[in-house]
């Protein structure tokens, strides 16, 4: 600790550097002039000027998901802060560590409807893990330090720090880099050993064990432990949307994503297992379906989660373990290895092999009856990208096609808006991802409707040389809405058609992006190559059919045991 006399803005920047911040995504404003004045001469922090604050939050979120390191976004008071809201809610729902800094009117006029005043503190309370309204310049070191500590420990999430202008401009003599934390925040990390013993007992004796891997496996960096346990137990792994990448999807034990738009046999496995080890998942209805008594009816359900409040929230479980997934998995493995030999050749393993093959052929055999252009395009993308490439998605059919067909090989390479389902997330998240990993290819699998919600940030990409590739699934529809109207609302296409504008190629070109239209799947390979070769941010306008459907699926309100549209799956 060093005692220094600094302005609030200087303290903020000093603390950001101390927390290891290298990049911030933001837009300045009147309330932040002091902060931006300090950032102007600061070389350790790269500030990327976004074109919309929502994108700043999504970019910080994407950055965080790729690196596991806290992303930072900055917005001015009032409209800047309210524009952040969607992005913050999105990151918090998916437990992504983000710190948001917002400007605020001077403390002396807070609550008077001053120019560009919004009560950011109250607005963001329910969509953040925690937030602060700073009242004294001298409080800044402790608050900024704890913002980062809270955001990236326990169940990760968003912390917002609201910074009134007089606090930023004010000068205080402070001790920088304090280590003091708050008494009320003690993240639960160490799993209970007694519970681990109970779990080992169950798993050791299970005939048909199954692992359900959620986003918690990825955020705890527990992919290696997961694979060891699956191998040792002879247990197949199914994932949630957030868990995609927790295990390579071509691994013989991986049955892909389960749930509403998941693989038929991933859901079947849940139905058939006698012990279900659920890791870092909150049993969202997208994963469980809506008839909970039909979810893993024969299984002893074990739930490992870092957040106590998730235990028995959506699903009544038999054995809970509260704690870090990585620690829990290594604890389980250690005891299990002492208890018995590695299991091979069980009936269940044979069954899994068959199910895996069925899933595989379902995904591989693209020329089969009912395969659509969208299916084929995702398959192609999956084939053309290397294992390290990062895919982000928008929301809609495009997202679910990607979830179904894109073969994710590594953790932190499939980035999608799970909890909030935010259209417009994929593109700015791709920007954050590319900034986090400049050497990796980054592709946004986009819907035309979604892309239009945040496409102005093509300017950010071009200006800052962030060459991401946007692959638009151009069906001129809010396709997912259309699909639901077709299947469940008598084909009454109420407000789901997007009409003919814009010309995405011209739009992208006007920003200085590389752009190309892909009329047929055969053209994709060259187009994608051209896009990467161009070295520029690129947009591929891929024409797909408005009638393409994401199938099979669990109809809303339905049970995980009853998917519709399974004609196209291979049956065993």
């Amino acid at each position: 600790m060093t005692r220094e006399k600094l302005s609030g803005a200087e303290i903020v920047v000093e603390e950001l550097k101390d927390e290891g911040v290298e990049v911030a995504f933001g837009i300045p404003g009147g309330a932040l002039l002091d902060l931006y004045d300090v950032l102007y001469k600061e070389e350790a922090i790269r500030h990327i000027l976004m074109r919309h604050e929502q994108c700043a939050a999504h970019a910080a979120d994407g950055y965080a998901r790729v690196l596991g390191k806290t992303g930072v976004c900055i917005a001015t008071s009032g409209p800047g802060a309210t524009n952040l809201v969607t992005g913050l809610a999105n990151a918090n729902m998916d437990s992504s560590p983000v710190v948001a800094l917002t400007g605020q009117v001077p403390t002396s006029v807070i609550g008077t409807n001053a120019f560009q005043e919004a009560s950011t503190f109250t607005i963001t309370m329910p969509i953040t893990k925690h937030n602060f309204l700073v009242k004294r310049t001298s409080d800044l070191p402790k608050i900024i330090h704890n913002a980062f500590y809270i955001a990236n420990t326990g169940r990760k999430g968003v912390v917002l720090v609201d910074l009134p202008t007089d606090i930023l401009a004010g000068v205080a003599e402070v001790d920088l880099h304090p280590k003091e934390t708050f008494a009320g925040y003690k993240p639960n990390i160490k799993p209970n050993q007694v519970q681990i013993k109970r779990v080992v007992e169950i798993l050791a004796n299970a005939e048909r064990p199954l692992i359900l891997a959620g986003g918690g496996v990825i955020s705890a960096d527990a992919a290696v432990e997961l694979r060891h346990l699956a191998d040792f137990l002879g247990a197949p792994v199914v994932t949630t949307l957030m868990g995609k990448g927790a295990i390579p999807e071509n691994h013989p034990f991986c049955l892909g994503m389960a749930g509403m738009h998941g693989q038929l046999y991933a859901n079947r496995a849940i139905n058939e297992c006698d012990a279900l080890l659920a890791l870092g998942t909150r049993f969202s209805d997208r994963t469980t379906g809506w008839q909970l008594d039909q979810f893993a009816p024969d299984a002893t359900i074990i739930h490992v989660d870092i957040d106590t409040a998730e235990i028995n929230k959506n699903m009544q479980v038999d054995i809970p373990i509260v704690g870090d997934v990585k620690l829990a998995l290594s604890g389980i493995l250690k005891l299990l290895e002492k208890k018995r030999e590695k299991k091979t050749g069980s009936e269940w393993e044979k069954r899994i092999k068959k199910m895996h093959e069925a899933c595989d052929s379902c995904v591989e055999d693209i020329s089969r009856e009912g395969a659509s252009v969208s299916d084929i395009l995702i398959k192609e993308i999956s084939k053309l990208l290397d294992d390290d490439a990062i895919v982000t998605t928008e929301v809609g059919q495009c997202q679910m096609f990607a979830a179904y067909y894109y073969m994710t090989k590594k953790p932190r390479t499939f980035i999608s808006s799970g909890g909030l389902g935010t259209m417009g997330f994929g593109f700015p998240a791709a920007i954050g991802a590319k900034v986090a990993a400049p050497d990796k290819k980054v592709v946004d699998i986009a819907g035309d409707g979604s892309f239009l919600m945040t496409c102005q940030d093509m300017a950010t990409c071009v200006e800052n040389d962030i060459p991401v590739v946007v692959c638009i699934f151009d069906n001129r529809y809010l396709g997912m809405i259309r699909q639901f109207q077709e299947l469940f609302f008598d084909k009454k296409y109420s407000q789901s058609g997007l009409g003919i504008t814009p010309d995405f190629v011209k739009l992208a070109e006007s920003f200085g992006c590389y752009a190309e239209r892909v009329e047929k799947p055969e053209e994709l390979k060259d187009a994608l190559n051209n896009a990467f070769e161009s070295g520029k941010p690129a947009v591929l306008d891929m024409i797909v059919g408005k009638e393409d459907k994401v199938l099979p699926m669990i109809p809303p309100g339905g049970s995980i045991t009853r998917m519709i549209g399974t004609e196209r799956c291979k049956h065993i």
């Binding site: 503190f121 109250t122 925690h130 008494a183 009320g184 925040y185 106590t308 028995n312």
Partner: protein, 164 residues
């Protein structure tokens, strides 16, 4: 449905009440009574919250409250293991001397204090368990309750004071 009393130790910051009550609002749970006051530790406040809900709702809320950064401690007080008090101030109409003496008598038997007396009313204070206050107020309604104020419950665990 059952009444649960949750005792919270929270950091004494602006906004902590909003954060706490927002938790209940989000889950659609009605707070039936709430008191906030300083406590034995500097910088911390004690909140006593009474809610109606099922066991599982209580369990959920208890965990989510503990997740709040400014909540230092959450104790779920069972009726059988706690001393629960509510303070009630009420102004009762007394139409004649007969009513007055009846009101005074009843007040005495309930241990209520007479704070003020006017020609046609008596002002009383009763600090008791909420149920007993309910009964007392019901009785007073026969005479006519002009005004009624209750602070809401506060509660303390019995015994040595070791909080679970």
């Amino acid at each position: 449905m059952q009444t649960h009393i949750i005792s919270l130790l929270v950091e004494d910051n602006p906004g902590v009440l909003t954060r706490m009550s927002g938790m209940f609002t989000m889950r659609g749970i009605n707070i039936t009574s709430l008191t906030v006051s300083p406590c034995e530790k500097e910088g911390l406040s004690r909140m006593t919250v009474a809610i109606e809900g099922s066991e599982s709702e209580l369990e959920m809320v208890r965990k989510q409250l503990s997740n709040l950064i400014e909540v230092v401690k959450v104790v779920d007080l069972k009726e059988s293991e706690a001393i629960i008090r509510d303070l009630c101030l009420l102004k009762v109409h007394v139409k004649d001397p007969e009513a007055r003496s009846e009101v005074m008598q009843l007040a005495e038997s309930y241990g209520a204090k007479i704070l003020d007396a006017a020609l046609d009313s008596v002002t009383l204070e009763l600090t008791e368990e909420p149920k007993k206050i309910d009964r007392f107020v019901d009785l007073m309604r026969h005479f006519g309750v002009k005004q009624l104020f209750r602070t809401g419950v506060t509660a303390i665990g019995i015994g040595a004071g070791v909080e679970r």
